[in-house]
């Protein structure tokens, strides 16, 4: 850490110059207001209309805080709270173990297939609802492939998916790409001269990584790790899949969605989740305060890539393959499932067929089209907002600018079903001239997706901007460039990697979102892939076709991700050539 501070400081602008860029211009003020209005309209107000119940007395609706007292007095909630904290923290640790080698090897060494690995390492994030879970159980469950074989051969089983440790394992597999993608973007952005300086001073190997490289990539790591923490803390799908109910997010979900019982505790838990998410982000911001991670030199393609010695490369390939095999197992299982006739209590399916793809082929077209449209618009909205918020928070001194960051981050903690109900409540009454409610338009789904995935893009953009030295902007402004021109010509191009990382994360995860979508979809013609999947996965006969749709979703997102990696690579090569 100390290395980072000194290394970074060497290039940091002197304090006296700072005031040049930190005062807010009218344009920045307008931007902040615009974002605030957007967040208020599509996040704060709709969610507020639902979770205000947390502060009211059941029956009378009078204001009260007694529900929070009840929360603190209920053993189940307290147990759930600490379980959630433990699982989230441990998930960050395990996810880091998966992500660090992949990120390091692919960015630091000349490694064939680095781009492919980056793409593949990203796939676990795209776990289609329901089928992903079934595939995971068929592989790692008590009677999954691995345990059936272990039991046959050695007479024991490994409880991969039991209890809290099972949740940690699955969450780490699922969300480690957050760390991978942000850390890789950060590693690519490190100034090569830092490393060379350290090498000249005699540092090398692991010490070089520990003292110089990793600390300089800290913004990316923190961005990813804090996302993993908050996301795991707020995730309800995985614990419920593993039948772990004593964690906070599943408790909130079970209570919000119980039929006929007016229970304020579900909303109380939602408020607790929101507060915890903001707290976690605040702590991670505190941890970074007082350190400067910006480096001046840009566009050189990041760290110098070293050629590996043969034994090194063998170890590296071995490690990468092992990790990929582990984290991609669910997708391999999904693929098998989509071709399987029957797969039940056996290591592998009984037989294979193409019939499932035949069944979904006709109707999947409209789902694919909708998914692409919705997820790309949502991703675009997210990177625009994410870049703008990051810029306002890091480069201006507007009062309360952090609140934009925190409000956007709070979206992580809001169960999709709450957001969906909030949208119906807020926008169904608003009618278009011909009488159709606003909430029935597909754009509502897009907005819900954008809000739900905004935190991902925001963290990526934030980390990218943190690594850029203010002195570059100051130089541009000193040469007469306006603020807008500086942003357009200097900041945005330098942030490109981070922005793209943000877009890809938002896009990919939006493509498989279900909970808010299920509330808002109004007709089959407007439905995305996840909804089609849901419709199939409610019957035994639908498992195969559901898996086929899941594979289509994963392939779709993988192709888009691969394409964007290609674009990054090309633009970096072009820059390198231009120098």
């Amino acid at each position: 850490m100390a290395g980072a501070t000194t290394a970074g400081r060497a290039h940091a602008p002197s304090r006296s110059l700072r005031h040049l860029t930190i005062s807010a211009s009218p344009g920045q003020l307008a931007l902040a207001l615009g974002i605030a209005v957007f967040l208020a309209l599509f996040l704060v107000i709709p969610v507020g209309t639902v979770i205000y119940v947390a502060f009211t007395e059941k029956g009378t609706g009078a204001f009260t805080l007694v529900n929070f007292l009840d929360f603190a007095r209920t053993d189940l909630f307290i147990r759930s709270f600490w379980n959630s904290v433990y699982v989230s923290a441990m998930s960050v640790v395990v996810a880091s173990i998966f992500a660090l080698p992949l990120a390091y090897i692919t960015t630091r060494f000349e490694f064939r297939g680095a781009m492919l690995i980056q793409t593949l390492g990203f796939l676990p994030l795209i776990m289609p609802p329901f089928v992903g879970a079934v595939a995971m159980l068929l592989l790692f469950g008590r009677n999954g492939t691995v345990n059936l074989l272990l039991n046959d051969w050695f007479g024991f089983r490994i409880p991969f998916m039991e209890g809290l440790n099972g949740v940690i394992f699955v969450q780490a597999v699922h969300y480690f790409p957050f760390i991978l993608i942000n850390l890789s973007a950060a590693l690519r952005n490190i100034d090569r001269s830092m490393e060379e300086a350290a090498q000249n001073l005699g540092s090398s190997g692991f010490r070089l990584f520990r003292r110089i490289v990793f600390p300089l990539a800290m913004p990316g790591y923190i961005a990813g790790a804090s996302l993993v923490f908050v996301k795991v803390f707020d995730d309800l799908a995985t614990p419920l899949l593993l039948n772990v109910k004593d964690m906070l997010a599943p408790q909130a979900y079970l209570r919000v969605t119980s039929i006929g019982i007016a229970d304020p505790m579900g909303y109380v838990i939602s408020v607790v989740l929101i507060c915890m998410s903001i707290l976690a982000m605040w702590i991670s911001a505190r941890a970074m305060r007082g350190k400067d991670y910006a480096t001046v030199q840009r566009g050189g393609g990041g760290l110098s890539k070293r050629r590996m010695r043969p034994w090194e490369s063998a170890v590296a390939y071995g490690a990468v393959l092992l990790i990929l095999l582990l984290v991609l197992a669910p997708h391999i299982g999904l693929l098998l499932l989509s071709f399987a006739t029957i797969w039940s209590f056996s290591p592998l399916p009984d037989a294979y067929t193409l019939a499932h793809y035949g069944r979904v082929f006709g109707e999947s077209f409209v789902y694919v089209k909708n998914t692409l449209v919705y997820a790309s618009i949502a991703g675009l909205i997210d990177v625009v907002l994410g870049t703008a918020i990051a810029y306002l928070v890091l480069r201006t001194r507007l009062v309360g600018r952090e609140w934009l960051d925190w409000a956007a981050t709070a979206a992580l903690a809001i169960p999709g079903v709450v957001l969906g109900i909030g949208y119906l409540r807020t926008f169904y009454g608003v009618q278009l001239p011909d009488g159709t409610p606003l909430a029935t338009l597909w754009i509502t789904i897009v907005l819900a997706l954008a809000i739900r995935r905004l935190p991902y893009a925001l963290r990526a953009c934030y980390a990218a901007l943190q690594q850029i030295s203010v002195s570059l902007e100051e130089a541009a402004e000193n040469l007469g460039a306006t603020k807008v021109r500086t942003v357009r010509r200097i900041v945005l191009p330098l942030m490109a990697g981070g922005i793209l990382a943000g877009f890809v994360t938002s896009f990919a995860t939006a493509a498989v979102e279900l909970s808010a979508t299920l509330m808002l979809v109004q007709s089959n013609a407007d439905a995305p892939l996840a909804y089609g999947l849901y419709v199939f996965m409610q019957s035994p006969a639908g498992r195969g076709p559901g898996a086929a749709l899941g594979v289509i979703a994963v392939l779709l997102v993988a192709l888009c991700t691969f394409a964007s990696h290609l674009i990054i690579e090309k633009s970096q090569k072009a820059k390198a050539a231009g120098r």
């Binding site: 059941k58 029956g59 009378t60 529900n67 009840d70 929360f71 007095r73 209920t74 053993d75 189940l76 079934v134 159980l137 068929l138 469950g141 008590r142 009677n143 999954g144 039948n243 109910k245 004593d246 599943p250 079970l254 969605t257 119980s258 039929i259 006929g260 019982i261 007016a262 505790m265 006739t341 029957i342 797969w343 039940s344 209590f345 056996s346 079903v417 969906g420 109900i421 119906l424 169904y428 009454g429 009618q431 409610p437 029935t440 299920l518 509330m519 109004q522 007709s523 089959n524 909804y531 849901y534 419709v535 199939f536 996965m537 409610q538 019957s539 035994p540 006969a541 639908g542 498992r543």
Partner: protein, 440 residues
């Protein structure tokens, strides 16, 4: 001559019928929790019977469907609500979101099994029924040398420890009815004892109904307490599963209702009529759907081994079911189950396992003191924090629905009940471990 006039009458009738069909047109919007396998055949058949009408099916889980109808009532675009869980219909009815409608079908009896088919006030109508039973994965049972169960009580036997799954009654309206039937059939105290002995063997209590057949199909869990069509459609898809109706089972209806202020009221009523008409009832017999028609005459067209609740007394007729009793305490029963069983499953299972071990040891070497301890342990597990009268009292029911009078809050009751159960499970565990030592 007579034959000719009959034919003519049939023709005129047909003309009238199609005329009536033509009168309705446009789009009928249906919110349903049923899967594509169920809705697609009905959509095709209905659209064929009513040319010019399209059935727009919106799939939502029951809860999302209820919330959707509730949130959009000011500008309702939904014509029909179509789902299994009677409790969902009760909630909608209670909020005034359904429209009374009595279908024009004939020959549909009052009750199926012991459960009334239609809502007495006519807000929703049953169109199909299903029985509860036990489904198991044959490969799993063989690999673990587990016998085939025949009755609910079998599932409480030690061999099935950690092999059974069920959906939580608070999450599945049909499971709730099964629990309620056991409570009514065996009485409050004995009923809970049976439930806890069974639940002590559970591997999972899932939060959605379909989670159970899914776990059994993939072999993650051996045995599941499921609604019959899940098992039948799994068999039809080729999964190695078997199914049995216990000697006493519940029959639960699946319902349909016209939504209040339906934009296409005529179309909605036509759809409800179609579902209970002989043609609509026959669609239920398709292998991918396989639910029990509510029109007894339709069973004549069913395959030979098709279960018929109107003929077979074990299908529901043997149990009594009082709807009023059930309605008064439905939330209380759900929350009691969740607080004392679902969220305490680890503690309950530990106690159950210890009791099983102690009893196994006692079977080999008798010991009076140990026997008494095990009995105490069983009583501790079976103990419930509230009595039947308390469960139906307005003070406690009001804590869940938000009654105007001030009583204990839901969270307070939950905490009390959970603490009550947890403490007793721990005591039961200690006593059985003590018994095991004595019997060794």
């Amino acid at each position: 001559m007579l034959r000719h006039s009959a034919a003519a009458a049939a023709l005129i009738g047909a003309a009238l019928f199609t005329g009536a069909a033509f009168a309705q047109s446009g789009k009928v919007t249906v919110v349903t929790s049923f899967s594509k396998d169920v809705t697609d055949p009905f959509k095709q058949a209905f659209e064929k019977a009513h040319p010019g009408v399209t059935l727009d099916v919106q799939n939502r889980n029951t809860n999302a469907g209820v919330k959707f109808v509730e949130e959009t009532k000011a500008n309702n675009q939904i014509d029909v609500f179509w789902a299994s869980a009677p409790d969902a219909f009760e909630v909608l009815k209670g909020k005034g979101l359904l429209q009374q409608y009595k279908p024009k079908a004939e020959g549909i009896p009052e009750k199926i099994g012991s459960y009334p088919i239609n809502d007495p006030q006519g807000f929703y109508s049953g169109f199909a029924a299903s029985g509860y039973g036990i489904m198991w994965n044959d490969r799993y049972a063989k690999a673990n040398d587990l016998p085939e169960p025949k009755d609910w009580q079998d599932l409480a036997k030690p061999v099935y420890f950690d092999h059974v799954a069920m959906a939580a009654p608070s999450r599945s309206g049909t499971t709730h009815l099964t629990i309620e039937t056991i409570l009514q059939g065996e009485g409050w105290d004995k009923g809970w004892r049976t439930l806890k002995e069974m639940s002590g063997n559970f591997r999972q209590i899932t939060e959605r109904s379909f989670g159970v057949p899914e776990a059994v199909n993939s072999g993650q869990v051996g045995f599941g307490i499921v609604i019959d069509f899940f098992a039948f459609s799994s068999q039809a898809s080729g999964f190695p599963v078997k199914f049995v109706y216990p000697t006493v089972t519940t029959i639960v209806p699946a319902n349909v209702a016209v939504v209040a202020n339906a934009p296409n009221k005529a179309g909605a009523e036509a759809f409800v009529d179609y579902l209970v008409s002989p043609a609509g009832q026959e669609v239920l017999l398709e292998p991918s759907i396989r639910r029990l028609p509510v029109n007894p005459a339709v069973y004549a067209k069913a395959p030979a081994d098709y279960p018929n609740p109107f003929k077979d007394p074990s299908l529901g007729a043997r149990v009594k079911f009082d709807v009023d009793v059930s309605e008064k305490r439905s939330n209380v029963v759900d929350v009691l189950y969740d607080q004392t069983i679902t969220f305490q499953l680890d503690a309950l299972k530990a106690a159950t396992k210890a009791i099983h071990d102690a009893e196994a040891a006692l079977a080999k070497k008798d010991n009076a003191e140990a026997k008494a301890l095990v009995k105490e342990a069983r009583d501790l597990v079976a103990a419930m924090p509230i009595t039947e009268e308390q469960a139906a009292s307005p003070e406690i029911a009001g804590a869940f629905t938000g009654g105007k009078q001030k009583g204990a809050r839901q969270a307070e009751l939950e905490q009390q009940w959970a603490a009550f159960a947890k403490e007793r499970y721990q005591q039961a565990l200690a006593k059985s471990e003590q018994a095991l030592k004595l019997a060794r």
